[in-house]
């Protein structure tokens, strides 16, 4: 059942990524060159709708959150490293697999690189755990908890920022 649910969710996710043109190298790198905001429109739309849905279901007691712990050192350094690789490769892990699905076979080399990177990380983990991963750890926190305010206030602020960005993108036609 777990595997069946996973593949069904993935098919819908892949379908929507492809229809939204998020899998194209030109859209990914076009965004990083600040010429085409397609992928960020897609992502922020998902966040806008998703955060309302998730917190609605959470307040109804139907679901629980699964927050990743904040490690400032790891998220800044790892984030920058990912960004460097993303710009050169032109895809993130999920979109790379989707791009293979729409026929971009050159992505295969990047996928092999990602597997090698994953294996290297597993080897480096014991060292990283005692260094970078231990710098600035704050546990599993949300902005609502950090600022001691109601989560719907944060959602409202995020929603204003996101719609403001959408307005800007459309005005600048990017």
């Amino acid at each position: 059942m777990e595997l069946f649910l996973g593949v069904c969710t993935g098919i819908l996710f892949g379908f929507l990524l492809q229809k939204g043109q998020v899998l194209r190298f030109e859209k990914q790198v076009g965004f990083l060159r600040l010429k085409d905001m397609t992928i960020i429109k897609f992502m922020l739309s998902a966040v806008l709708v998703g955060m309302v849905g998730i917190y609605l279901f959470k307040d109804l007691g139907i679901i629980s959150l699964k927050i990743k712990a904040t490690h400032i050192g790891a998220q800044t350094l790892g984030g920058l490293l990912f960004g460097i690789g993303w710009a050169i490769f032109g895809y993130c892990p999920g979109t790379a697999i989707g791009a293979l699905g729409e026929g971009r076979w050159h992505v295969l080399w990047g996928v092999v690189g990602m597997l090698a990177g994953a294996a290297a990380y597993a080897e480096a983990y014991p060292f990283l755990k005692t260094t970078v991963l231990s710098w600035g750890s704050y546990g599993k926190i949300t902005f609502a908890e950090l600022l001691h305010v109601n989560h719907w206030l944060i959602i409202t602020v995020f929603a204003f920022i996101i719609t403001g960005l959408f307005w800007l993108f459309e005005k600048k036609r990017i």
């Binding site: 892949g14 790198v29 699964k66 699905g101 995020f158």
Partner: protein, 179 residues
Amino acid sequence: MNAMFSKAVWSPYVAGALVGILAAIAVVVSTNVLPKPKYLGTSTTFVRIAGLIEKQFAAEHVAGNEYFKAKKVKIDWQMMLVAGIFLGALLSSLIGKTFNTEKVPSMWAEFYGKNRLVRAGAAFIGGFIALFGVRLAGGCPSGHGLSGTMQLAVSGLIAMVFFLAGGILTAGIVYKRRK
């Protein structure tokens, strides 16, 4: 309805909003059917597949590695999600007639030419750095960017800001127009 599915391209706002609905519903369904809720994410799957491959050559090494032990080298919900992304993109591109076996991305060729080997090498190196970084950060643009920020996680937004900072700075150097 049929016409909508066969359309080559949907507005990124519409497709993205539908992903938001999918993400929330996936959590509700997995909470009810599985022992643990499942949020969208992809990058740990690369660790598990690397572990499964390495196991063929060095089973003991994989069994003793702390990271592989923590992530559990097995086929799970997320690995099937990643397989599904491939199938969903294939299906969508066939229906929309946008399936295209391209050799080198056109924007890449504008800067570095059509040599397939050059592109393959860059993709390998870029993929390597990206996956190493993303595991250090603890998640990718799906796990941190989508699922993290949706839950208002501090970790998600920090990671996303640095993904973009690293990406935009690097793209500015790598894809710089020569006069």
